[in-house]
């Protein structure tokens, strides 16, 4: 896709520097990396407690929230792995394998960026917004939604870095409804969308963008065992009838490549859980 040079992947054991409980089920875990990492916004890391033993067995794919000497991740406590992460104390060792995957593509010059975030999917977008700010780029627009005000972790960060609109399904913050209820009004020919959140949300965002011919980049979220291309557990159906693997061909991809109507990315009844966090 591009000639960008991605940092070499490393498996390192890092000490937890701090865990910040940021309300509800959300925590930010910050690690101490003496060598310093060079993840790009949109890349992810496979995280596991170094002392977990045989269970939970697999590392959890987590988007980088920050990189460098203090890499951090945003977690939502959902399953056994995130429960342990949500209780971890400073000094506890974790293994991080990364940086992995395709980062967000470089924003197109001349286009106003619109970030669309759902719940815990906000992490790679905060990283992107911070990178844009550091590069002196124009302030993006952001739409951030969740079920209630409690489900908008890191909203302060987005408020500082973007022109922020929030939505909640219960109306406890911002506009009552979903991000896709207000996205339409913010799309135009000079816009470009970057989105991460529940599949159903991203599918709808992709549809709205496609209808208005607005470029849309999505960060895919699927279960993964390895994160580096060998388990083949993270296929995402593509428009050509095949699959792409979210770990190495994603997680960031052009939304038009994804067949949102097929497989696990099809809209479903019931509660969506960000499965890679379970």
């Amino acid at each position: 896709m591009s000639t960008r040079v991605l940092a070499k992947r490393r498996l390192v054991t890092l000490s937890l520097l701090r865990r910040e409980s940021i309300g509800g089920l959300y925590h930010v875990l910050t690690f101490e990396d003496p060598d310093g990492g060079a993840a790009q916004p949109g890349q992810f890391t496979m995280v596991r407690g170094a002392e977990w033993g045989d269970a939970p067995l697999l590392p959890r794919p987590m988007s980088y929230l920050t990189t460098g000497h203090t890499p951090s991740i945003l977690i939502k406590v959902i399953g056994e792995g995130t429960l342990r992460m949500g209780r971890a104390e400073p000094g506890e060792p974790f293994t991080l394998l990364g940086p992995l995957g395709e980062p967000w593509r470089a924003p197109t010059p001349g286009r106003r960026i619109v970030l669309v975030a759902g719940g815990v999917g906000v992490a790679p977008l905060v990283f992107l917004a911070r990178a844009i700010a550091e590069a002196g780029g124009p302030k993006p627009i952001a739409i951030y939604g969740g079920r209630s005000a409690r489900d908008l972790p890191l909203d302060d960060d987005l408020a500082e870095l973007t022109e922020l609109h929030t939505t909640t399904e219960d109306g406890s913050r911002g506009t009552r409804g979903r991000v896709t209820d207000i996205l339409g009004d913010l799309l135009g020919p000079d816009r470009e969308v970057f989105t991460c959140g529940p599949d159903r949300m991203m599918a709808k965002v992709a549809e709205l963008c496609a209808a208005r011919d607005v470029p849309c980049e999505v960060s895919l979220e699927t279960p993964m065992a390895c994160g580096y291309g060998v388990c083949l557990g993270c296929p995402v159906p593509t428009m050509d009838g095949a699959y792409l693997y979210a770990c190495t061909q994603g997680p960031c991809v052009d939304a038009r490549r994804v067949d949102w109507s097929r497989g696990d990315h099809a809209p479903k009844k019931g509660t969506h859980l960000p499965r890679s966090q379970t």
Binding site: A55, A225, P235
Partner: protein, 301 residues
């Protein structure tokens, strides 16, 4: 190095630590981590005659101290493997065991004949035990007569060592292993995954689109060890053990039970260097005790 060397049916391996098919890609995904040529060998992702896209998602889920997978043998096909992967592996001096899969004896033969034309393939491992495909796979693997026929057919067309990978679901796995030995197999690999299931109770739905998936990981190890013990006691060809090996201690358990070599599988997912870690630990163990791996094989029997 000779302290670690083992013989597997005419094939000399510099050490007994291999990686398991389906858990190590094509061996070319590890450049950032270590030199895979250090290993005793690698077993490739199962190769079929034609490329396979694999099963729809979800393909994997975690279980207590293990996982289920229903990948469905997604692979590039034998032709693309020979063209795009093997030359690099050969150049790097990697010992390559080509794991092959087919739903008919004729296709097993065709794939083997294609591999015969290449240099750099050290052995073929017949996957007669995949739990996640509708044809061939586990149904072959449960039947001693069928396994014998597949083995005999492949044996008759190649000079390469032939390994046969056993299903733990065969009613009489010893009979299957013996049938493969009689048909000319050079080694038995035991075991492939065993079928399991998982249900998401919140969403009231199966976790895997394929309904069932192959169960692997540390939780499988005691079962694998029991089967390796039984098979190693029943055949005179080497047994290559697989099933939840993630540490040197695990590898030793299988060697002491009678395995000639071990394959590291699921452990590669959490730690890309898992096999290298097992190997380094084994080397240290043998140096410390001033013993050879050969002397350890079956020593607990």
């Amino acid at each position: 190095m000779t302290r670690l060397a083992v013989e597997v049916g005419g094939l000399s391996l510099k050490n007994p630590v291999l990686t398991a098919s389906g858990c190590f890609g094509y061996g070319l995904e590890y450049d950032d981590f270590y030199d895979v040529a250090e290993l005793g060998g690698i077993c490739t992702k199962g190769l079929s005659l034609h490329p396979r896209a694999g099963n729809p998602p979800e393909r994997i889920c975690e279980t207590p101290a293990g996982m289920l997978n229903a990948i469905g043998l997604a692979n590039v096909g034998v032709e693309a493997f020979c063209r795009d992967k093997l030359p690099t592996l050969r150049e790097r001096g990697v010992t390559v065991i080509a794991n092959i899969f087919a739903s008919s004896i004729a296709d097993f033969v065709t794939i083997t004949e294609r591999l015969n034309r290449e240099t750099g393939v050290a052995a073929v491992e017949l996957n007669v035990s995949c739990p996640n495909v509708s044809e061939g796979g586990i149904e072959f693997g449960k039947d001693a007569r069928m396994c014998g026929e597949v083995t005999r057919a492949v044996r008759s067309v190649t000079k390469l060592p032939v390994w046969v990978k056993m299903s733990p679901e065969a009613g009489n796995i010893v009979a299957v292993a013996r049938a493969c030995e009689e048909a000319g197999a050079d080694a038995i690999t035991a075991i492939n995954t065993i079928r399991g299931m998982s249900i998401d109770v919140e969403q009231n739905k199966l976790r895997l689109a394929n309904r069932t998936g192959g169960f692997s990981g540390p939780a499988l190890r005691p079962i694998a060890l029991r089967i390796v013990w039984e098979v190693a006691g029943a055949v005179s060809i080497p047994v290559i053990a697989i099933g939840g090996v993630s540490t040197t201690r695990d590898a030793l358990e299988f060697l002491l039970a009678g395995a000639t070599a071990v394959q590291v599988g699921t452990a590669n997912f959490a730690d890309p260097s898992a096999a290298k870690r097992v190997l380094d630990g084994l080397r240290a163990h043998c140096e410390r005790g001033n013993v050879t791996v050969k002397s350890l094989i079956g020593s607990a029997r």
